[in-house]
């Protein structure tokens, strides 16, 4: 028996496994806003059931990259995306892709909580209803409850589901938005600075939530807080001037990063 070849086989199997573990793959992704190029050939893979944090100074392209993952850039006038992005190995920029359906699979949570001016119940029920995810009222009730439980909000709002969502506190509103994203059973959740408008307690709750959601979802989060990236993510990608500088294990990234620019940025030094 040849031990070396066996090890080689195992390595190949590992490789295959890790390829299958990539939920989304970005290959040579560039984004242009009119004449201005915002992203330069970014190659970044998003692992399944993993929290990937995107960090970098303002204007570095991290939010731009995030928005390419569910084609939010489509809504911006003059925005052009080149390269290839796949979700479970299929191209999300293929002309045959239904963008509404894509966004149900790749949900998004924004910086400022933006509940609909409707009841808490309706905020959650809206998505499942338009996507036809429920057959009847009790189905829908169940989805609303499950989503609020997953978002850690159920106990706080179960007695006032018919009150307006905008009446909740900022932190509760953000968790409502996460519950709303979760309600349509997405596979990936994109979060664009979800805690920057929240106090530390609400932030801690959202971070705890992110930690729990990882079991069922793949999460990509843009954050300006180094500490938050270090706390919630397993992988971290550092952007600078539209380039992906470094992508690494979060533990490595914040104790001993490979790239000088990452080093300078996370340590708050002049670059």
């Amino acid at each position: 028996m040849n031990i070396m070849s066996e090890a080689a086989v195992e390595k190949a199997l590992d490789q295959k496994m890790s390829d299958a573990n990539f939920k989304m793959v970005g290959k040579d992704v560039s984004v242009y806003y009119g004449e201005k190029r915002a992203l330069f050939d970014v190659n970044l893979n998003v692992r399944k059931n993993t929290v990937t944090a995107l960090i970098g100074p303002s204007g570095c392209g991290k939010s731009t990259f995030l928005r390419t993952l569910n084609r939010m850039n489509d809504t911006i006038e003059g925005c052009r995306v080149t390269g290839k992005i796949t979700l479970d190995q299929s191209d999300i920029y293929d002309p045959s892709v239904d963008v509404v359906e894509l966004r149900a699979r790749v949900g998004m949570v924004f910086q400022k909580p933006n509940p609909f001016p409707k009841s808490i119940y309706e905020n959650i029920a809206y998505g499942p209803r338009i996507h036809g995810l429920s057959r009847n009222k009790s189905d829908l009730d169940q989805i609303v409850e499950n989503s609020l439980v997953k978002a850690g909000l159920w106990n706080e709002v179960k007695d006032r589901l018919l009150e307006p969502g905008t009446g909740l506190s900022g932190g509760q509103q953000q968790r409502l938005c996460i519950a709303r994203a979760v309600a349509v059973s997405p596979e990936v959740i994109l979060m664009d600075e979800p805690c920057s408008a929240l106090d530390p307690i609400a932030t801690a709750k959202v971070e705890e939530l992110i930690h729990e959601l990882r079991a069922n979802f793949t999460i990509v989060i843009v954050t300006h807080s180094m500490q938050q990236a270090a706390r919630v993510s397993q992988r971290t990608a550092m952007f600078h001037l539209g380039n992906l500088v470094e992508e690494n294990d979060t533990d490595k990234m914040f104790t001993n990063p490979d790239d000088q620019r990452t080093q300078d940025y996370i340590m708050g030094r002049f670059g």
Partner: protein, 237 residues
């Protein structure tokens, strides 16, 4: 090349830690040299000075620890900044121990004084102390330069100290076997030799810490060990 912090106060805090550690290092060196000099010359006044100097070193370690804690809480340092601060805490602890060992040697001066240390033994102790001090001095220079290569080479050299310590150990045993009246002073001298040998170990610890601060990696493998006294004099020896 690392750039300055955007918040200059952070740079000041890190500089404070570096400066205080260099001061501690200087004082610890002085204490060790003085303690050995007091021992071979039976200089009680010098021994007393070493004993009182230890309080300064203890204070410095506490202050470095407090400053480090406050800096971590305030700045939430990352990467090499974090390693720098954690390293400072560890090095301060090692230097404080070096001071304790010097103090312990100084305390024994009183017990040994008057018993007349044989010239040969005194020279052995002096030589051991010289090596430990060179080790300590070099490691403090490496602390200033943060050179990982040099940190590694210091670690390699602890062997020499261990070898001399082992030969001193044998010698002291011989004296004790020759005349039971030697047992009391020789036991004290044995502790003194052990104290000095331990200083080499602390210098090695510091070298490893500096290596980690500079590279983010731990030095791999067992450090070289030549101290065989743990089995010396046993039936199988």
């Amino acid at each position: 090349m690392t750039h300055a912090h955007i918040t200059s106060a952070f740079d000041e805090e890190l500089k404070y830690l570096t400066r205080r550690i260099s001061e501690m290092g200087g004082l610890a060196e002085q204490m060790v040299a003085d303690s050995v000099r007091a021992l071979v010359n039976s200089d009680l006044a010098l021994a007393q000075k070493v004993i009182s100097d230890d309080a300064i070193l203890d204070d410095a370690e506490r202050q470095i620890g407090e400053k480090a804690i406050v800096t971590i809480a305030k700045r939430q340092p990352m990467a090499s900044d974090l390693r720098e601060i954690m390293g400072s805490i560890r090095i301060a602890a090692d230097l404080e121990r070096v001071g304790d060992l010097g103090k312990n040697t100084a305390k024994r001066v009183i017990a040994v004084a008057g018993s007349g240390i044989p010239r040969k033994l005194a020279r052995g102790l002096e030589h051991l102390a010289e090596l430990a001090l060179v080790q300590l001095k070099e490691v403090l220079d490496v602390f200033a330069s943060r050179s990982p290569e040099k940190a590694n080479s210091i670690r390699e050299r602890d062997e020499e100290i261990d070898a001399i310590y082992t030969s001193l150990f044998r010698e002291l045993l011989t004296y004790m076997m020759e005349d039971p009246r030697n047992i009391t002073p020789c036991t004290h001298l044995l502790f003194c030799a052990k104290n000095i040998e331990r200083i080499g170990d602390h210098a090695t610890n510091i070298a490893e810490t500096i290596y980690y601060m500079a590279t983010g990696a731990q030095l791999q493998g067992e450090r070289p060990k030549d101290d065989t006294t743990s089995t010396l004099g046993s039936v199988t020896d």
